[in-house]
Amino acid sequence: MSLTLEQVRRVAHLARIEVSDAQAETTLGHLNGILTLIEEMQAVDTRGVEPMAHAQDLSQRLRSDVVTEGNRREAFQAIAPETEAGLYLVPKVIE
């Protein structure tokens, strides 16, 4: 199956990426090229095959519920676009 322009716009919105009108056709062509490549896999009979999420069969390690990281707020906020009083600043969300 191939994508429509409308679907590309919807996916782009979900991903918070803007696809301009000028780029839309090229993007659509590239994405459909990739989906055609992926299509090859659809016909494969995988009934009864366990999905493989990870190369090793591991279960998540547990650790003690104690603080292991020090407080490095200043170092981390020094590289932020905008902060004030230890908080990250963004445009007002609630009036």
């Binding site: 590309v8 979900l14 994405l31 896999m41 932020a80 963004v90």
Partner: protein, 489 residues
């Protein structure tokens, strides 16, 4: 000095023939002189490098030097490096000075190695030619009109042109092995989980793995000794006993050091799709292995042809999730103008990411979206299992699998940029190894029209020491790995 192996450099430092400061300066001078032609480094900071070198010389004077003390190494700019610009090849991070070190960097620092600079790469490691870098393409030192491969293209070009004695890379679908092949290097992608991913900027977390890129298997073994090891801060790091990856290299061997070794030749690697001049060199290398005592067995990996399809669902899906952290709020690029919070996110991401990264985010978002998850993502994971099972079956018949690393030698800059799918085909022989989580290597096995050709070696899980030994025995009787480009010096 610049032709020496890491071991020989260590000896030269040990005898006082050269100091780490002198050695570091030697490489920094070469970078200054030759990097403008190659664009292999994004960041060089001579002051920081020389301070580390000076500290290494002081440490050596106390008699506590290890094998990497004072040795300068280039680091792929995907490893967070405290106090260094860490860009991942993206405009999104072109102002990001990392506040912490990746585990790999911590390990090299603890070993006394010197950071020579941060190498160029495809943006967020997405690419096979290094043309997707915000900082411009890297040029292959064997032919400056050609790509070095990707995504670890800067590391490959830097080591090939001897602007660094060795470098680190990361490999999600071939990003260590393919550039190693295209630049005439020896590169190793370890078993998934051997090298910590902590501080290694994530592309596709279930596939990403760091590894060494150098001139020889011996050098790679030395580097892997420092890179590998359990790290509790990486949830997929494997808690295994520490290994010496050089152990098999040091065993003296007779004229047939690989007697009894069974090399599997998958028919899927030897069919259509590979350039004849590449295949010729690969077959000559296999013949050399027979002289070393190895036997060959014909095998099949019937599902390998599905690796492109499976990879281009799984990797973009994981990437779309991993890259959602780049939102212009906590670090990295923020758009100059925006109307509200959503607009801030959208504009920062639209302006901060390059075309290929956006494509993969869009594909990933689509295959994970409501109604498509089972058909795409789960099906890709099931196919991934089939691909991995093929290898399990193959390793019942053989000890190592060999074939070409890449279907062609280095291609021209600009040759494949218009068609993403053509570019993806450059990795047809490497993707399956990442999907299965196996260790793989590329070693130089000759030239086709003056361009290097790589032989791929694939081992069973945790067979790094064995693989390195198999590569090493070949390098003892050939000198392809010692060739260096003459056009740049």
């Amino acid at each position: 000095m610049i032709s020496k192996s890491l071991k020989a450099l260590g000896q030269a430092l040990g005898t006082g023939e050269i100091s780490s400061v002198e050695l570091t300066r030697l490489y920094l001078d070469r970078i200054e002189r030759l990097n403008p032609q190659l664009n292999a480094f994004i960041t060089v900071d001579a002051e920081k490098s020389l301070a580390q070198a000076s500290a290494a010389d002081t440490q050596r004077a106390t008699g506590t030097a290890g094998p990497l003390t004072g040795i300068p190494l280039a680091q792929k700019d995907i490893f967070c490096t405290k106090g260094w610009l860490t860009t991942c090849g993206s405009k999104m991070l072109d102002n990001f000075v990392s506040p912490y070190d990746a585990k790999v960097i911590e390990n090299f620092n603890a070993a006394g190695a010197v950071i020579l600079g941060k190498t160029n790469l495809d943006e967020f490691a997405m690419g096979s030619s290094n043309e997707n870098s915000y900082f411009g393409p890297v040029h292959n030192p064997w032919d400056l009109e050609r790509v070095p491969g990707g995504s670890s293209g800067g590391s490959a070009a830097a080591v090939a042109a001897r602007l660094a004695p060795a470098a680190t890379g990361t490999d999600t679908g071939g990003s260590i092995r393919q550039p190693s092949a295209l630049c005439g290097l020896t590169g190793l992608k370890p078993t998934y989980g051997i090298v910590s991913r902590y501080g290694m900027i994530a592309y596709a977390s279930s596939l990403d793995q760091g590894g060494p890129m150098a001139h020889s298997a011996e050098d790679c073994a030395l580097l892997l000794n420092t890179m590998a090891g359990f790290d509790e801060r990486d949830s997929t790091s494997l808690d295994r006993p520490k290994e010496d990856y050089r152990r098999e290299l040091q065993v003296d061997a007779d004229a047939k050091p690989l007697a009894g070794l069974k090399i599997g030749l998958p028919k899927e690697f030897y069919g259509e799709g590979c350039a004849p001049e590449v295949m010729q060199r690969v077959e000559a290398a296999i013949a050399q292995y027979r002289l070393l005592g190895a036997e060959t067995v014909d095998i099949s990996l019937p599902n390998m042809k599905l690796s492109l399809a499976s990879y281009y669902v799984i990797a973009p899906a994981e990437a779309s999730s991993n890259l959602s952290r780049f939102d212009g709020v906590r670090y990295g690029y923020r758009a100059a103008d925006y109307s509200d919070l959503n607009d801030l996110y959208t504009r920062s991401r639209t302006q901060g990411f390059g075309e290929e990264v956006k494509r993969r985010i869009l594909i990933g978002t689509y295959v994970l979206s409501h109604g498509y998850y089972d058909a795409y993502y789960l099906q890709a994971q099931r196919v991934r299992r089939l691909i991995a099972n093929d290898f399990v079956a193959a390793f019942k018949q053989c000890d190592v699998i060999m074939g070409p690393t890449s279907p062609s030698t280095a291609f021209k800059i600009g040759e494949k940029t218009d068609d993403p799918v053509q570019m993806y085909l450059s990795d047809i022989y490497t993707l399956a190894v990442n999907l299965a989580g196996l260790p793989g290597m590329s070693i130089p096995c000759g030239f086709a029209e003056q361009l290097p050709v790589g032989l791929q070696l694939i081992g069973n899980y945790f067979a790094e020491a064995r693989l390195l030994n198999i590569a090493h025995r070949y390098q003892q009787v050939t000198d392809w790995h010692l060739q260096h480009p003459t056009g740049i010096d």
